[in-house]
């Protein structure tokens, strides 16, 4: 299996993600880890909540992984995304890509996170002291 896509509501184990993509043909691994920031546009955030349309989200993540495999010469591609409530510092998303040569790993990893943020049906709600808001919903 060259691709591992998972969506779940408990902590992402980054070490396991890295182990999964490592192969003896890999020369480089690029990993993107999203983390919950304590602020957005200057306002303090104390919690995030992620909701997913799970079957479609998984399908779209697989599409992105397959596109990356067709565009670059990669060993393995992993996409893990969390759902549910996350505190500041926690990890909503991990993308890990291994390749014989590092340029492919970097390009593919960045392509995957950029595309995921555009097409995968997952929604983030930010919780502030004075309220909460679904991100990106309004102009």
């Amino acid at each position: 299996m060259q691709v591992q896509v998972q969506l779940y509501d408990n902590e992402i184990n980054v070490g396991k993600c890295i182990n999964w993509v490592t192969t003896s043909e890999s020369g480089g691994i690029d990993i993107f880890i999203g983390t919950v920031r304590n602020a957005t546009k200057g306002k303090t955030v104390f919690k995030l909540e992620f909701e997913a349309y799970a079957p479609m989200a998984i399908k779209e993540m697989h599409k992105i992984a397959d596109e990356a495999l067709s565009k670059w010469n990669l060993q393995k591609v992993l996409i893990h995304h969390r759902t549910g409530a996350l505190e500041v510092g926690e990890i909503p998303v991990v993308i890990a890509v291994s390749a014989a040569h590092r340029d492919a790993a970097f390009d593919a990893c960045r392509y995957i996170i950029d595309t995921l943020k555009q097409t995968v049906p997952i929604w983030k709600k930010e919780f502030f002291e004075d309220g909460e808001v679904w991100v990106a919903a309004h102009p």
Partner: protein, 80 residues
């Protein structure tokens, strides 16, 4: 025919439910469904945009709906 709409994110807030049922004529395209949604729930016009997914795929406006389709409202995504 009745179409059951799954709702996520702000769409769920607008509907006040995680799914609602909307009636459209047999063989209506997605565009007609959207008109009906915006008529019944005018707040959708205030969204930056929204998409309709049919059977777990983003659907074009001219896709013809059938009663057995799984239809979801996809407000602007913000995962990652």
């Amino acid at each position: 025919m009745d179409i059951t709409l799954l709702a996520f994110g702000i769409a769920k807030d607008i509907f006040g439910a995680s799914s609602v049922t909307v009636a459209v004529n047999e063989a209506s395209p997605v565009s007609i469904l959207k008109e009906k949604i915006e008529l019944n729930y005018p707040k959708f016009k205030a969204l930056k945009s929204y998409m309709v997914a049919v059977n777990n795929e983003y659907a074009a406006d001219d896709l013809i709906l059938s009663a057995s389709d799984e239809v979801a409202i996809i407000p602007p995504v913000s995962g990652g």
